[in-house]
């Protein structure tokens, strides 16, 4: 049989496959079983034609046509998996805490963040060691802004202001966390963002703790409730980011790319946990922290969230799954 006859014979099938692809592409309506079977049949037939293209000596353009046709059909047959929230929930509750506890990068981020935080807080608190440290770190304008924000006792706000501020915190704080995470891939930006945040927050805490700063009382009353979740979330984003950077700097026995890919699978769920914490922290920061509640209530909220974190990291984190016990 001549190629021209062969093409004429096969062309009807290829055209039908093209039409099916177009329909699938345009709207993903529910396919009937018949049509799905027919689609798979046509796809396999086109694959077979492509495989025999050399033996049949099809002209180059027809081969190119077949490559494109099979490629498009392949992309419609094998579709992306969407979010599976049940699986993600299980990952967040079971795998992530174990990973966080055992991950050296998270421990490094923890030490780095809190070390710099306390050092900076001490320098800002006592002007004797480094005069003007607080002014240099926070800038004079920043200090003024801090002082005016907390000049008055927390008297609560309208509920609608709470709603607005909560979404502002969600957007602002989670964005910082995500930038810190992504920057970790290049190591230097990640370390820089982490250190800067630790130093800045530490300086603010240290400065506000000075006895002569009267606004400090209101400041500490404000930050108590959401502190545990927010600061932990920052450390987790930084740690997940470091994991990416370390993956290609010290790949171990894998090649750098494979090591990066594995790190990505491990780091993204940790970042997911961090985002959830940012979200919770923003809710507390928006609704509870500025409210005119007695300080004891806010302290109770802080202790409760700390207890939740301890439960999450220590209890869930030390659990052994069956696979771990065997391996």
């Amino acid at each position: 049989m001549k190629v021209a006859e062969l093409l004429a014979q096969r062309r009807a099938d290829w055209q039908q496959l093209e039409r099916e692809i177009d329909q699938l592409q345009a709207r993903r309506r529910q396919m009937t079983a018949d049509r799905a079977t027919r689609f798979a049949e046509l796809y396999r037939a086109a694959c077979a034609d492509l495989a025999r293209a050399d033996a049949w000596q099809l002209p180059p353009r027809t081969v190119q046509y077949l490559h494109r046709l099979v490629g498009r059909a392949h992309n419609q047959l094998y579709r992306s998996r969407t979010f599976n929230f049940a699986v993600w929930g299980r990952v967040l509750l079971h795998e992530v805490p174990r990973r966080i506890v055992r991950e050296p990068c998270v421990q490094l981020a923890f030490l780095l963040f809190w070390g710099v935080f306390f050092a900076s807080a001490f320098l800002a608190f006592s002007p004797a060691t480094w005069p003007n440290y607080a002014e240099q770190m926070l800038t004079t304008a920043g200090i003024e802004q801090l002082e005016t924000s907390f000049a008055n006792p927390l008297a609560g706000r309208e509920l609608q202001d709470d709603v607005v501020m909560t979404s502002l915190y969600i957007r602002h704080n989670t964005s910082i966390g995500l930038k810190c995470f992504a920057g970790g891939l290049l190591v230097i930006p990640g370390v820089f963002i982490t250190l800067f945040n630790a130093a800045y927050l530490g300086a603010a805490f240290g400065y506000m703790a000075r006895p002569e700063v009267v606004e400090g009382v209101h400041f500490f009353e404000f930050v108590t409730a959401h502190g545990p979740f927010e600061l932990t979330a920052i450390v987790l984003s930084a740690g997940a980011g470091f994991r990416l950077g370390v993956a290609w700097l010290a790949p171990g026995r894998l090649c750098r790319l494979a090591s990066l890919r594995r790190a990505a699978e491990e780091a993204m769920p940790v970042m997911g946990a961090a985002m959830s914490l940012f979200f919770l922290a923003a809710l507390i920061e928006g609704f509870i922290s500025p409210a005119a509640l007695p300080w004891g209530v806010k302290l109770a909220v802080a202790l409760f969230s700390a207890a939740v974190l301890v439960f999450y990291l220590v209890f869930l984190g030390s659990q052994r799954s069956g696979a771990d016990a065997v391996g």
Binding site: E18, R68, R81
Partner: protein
């Protein structure tokens, strides 16, 4: 196909579960950049729509909810627009859909939601270095302009055009062109069929020769007569001598006749194996 895989080209070969190898065309920066810009425009458009809806809400007296809604939508669009669409639209965002490109794993399989979200979050790093717009004049220091320089450098240093986010997630972007049907070239020159009849009936055409003939005939429509002669003479002159045809036979016509014999003409079977063998 053996010839095409060794070419320096932007194709990636994929072996499917059906054990078929086929080629994908990898999409380069000049295909992906417009898609990104379109997505950026779509994001702004969506935000504007939300703002209009919010102003309606504000008018109804729920101003705070409106502002909160805008802030949340802004956050979600900024970080999860790409991840959302790429997971639900089978590796495409609206911009990618318009440009006909799609995200796949490097093994040609569909991406999962984790990869979709992560490669979009990591775009932050591909945007580096950020340039402060203060160099242009007296602007607040918050406006940072992404240069995408790092992403471009990384893309051009690997053969799948992967940016950093793609490398980390093991994904690539392929262009998915709608195939156009060409079929066989027929009826360009009626004399070709006549000349094909005059060729010796026992003449066999090797696979290499058939491929060469197809490459020539499929493209000859775009050449001038002089150019056709120039290209066709390399094969045409030796063949004219071998077949004992008159010296003034047009080489171009001879190649068309051979093409006709090889692919179209049903007159003789000359050692051609049957299909489906």
């Amino acid at each position: 196909m053996a010839a095409s895989t060794s070419q320096i080209d932007t194709t990636i070969q994929i072996v499917t579960p059906e054990n078929i190898a086929f080629d994908y065309q990898v999409a380069g920066p000049f295909r992906r950049w417009p898609a990104y810009l379109l997505d950026l425009a779509a994001r702004f458009g969506l935000l504007l729509v939300i703002m209009v809806a919010a102003s309606l809400l504000d008018w109804l007296g729920a101003g705070a909810l409106a502002v909160a809604g805008i802030l949340l939508v802004w956050f979600l669009l900024e970080w999860f627009y790409g991840g959302f669409f790429e997971s639900y639209w089978n590796g495409q965002t609206p911009g990618k859909w318009l440009l006909g490109i799609r995200v796949l794993t490097i093994h040609g399989q569909p991406i999962n939601a984790l990869q979709a979200v992560m490669r979009n979050v990591l775009r932050t790093v591909d945007m580096y270095p950020l340039i402060s717009l203060q160099v242009l004049g007296d602007l607040p220091p918050v406006y940072l302009f992404p240069t995408f320089f790092l992403g471009l450098v990384v893309m051009s240093s690997n053969r799948r055009f992967q940016r950093l986010g793609d490398l980390v997630c093991g994904t690539m972007v392929v262009s998915e062109e709608r195939p156009w049907w060409t079929g066989m070239v027929q009826g360009e020159d009626p004399r070709a069929a006549l000349l094909a009849e005059l060729l010796p009936a026992d003449m066999s055409i090797s696979p290499d020769m058939a491929r060469t003939l197809a490459s020539y005939v499929e493209r000859r429509g775009g050449f001038t007569a002089a150019r056709r002669r120039e290209i066709a003479r390399h094969l045409g002159i030796p063949l004219t001598r071998q077949l004992g045809l008159p010296d003034d036979t047009s080489e171009d016509l001879l190649l068309c006749a051979l093409y006709h014999r090889a692919f179209i003409g049903a007159a003789h079977e000359n050692g051609w194996r049957r299909s489906g063998g």
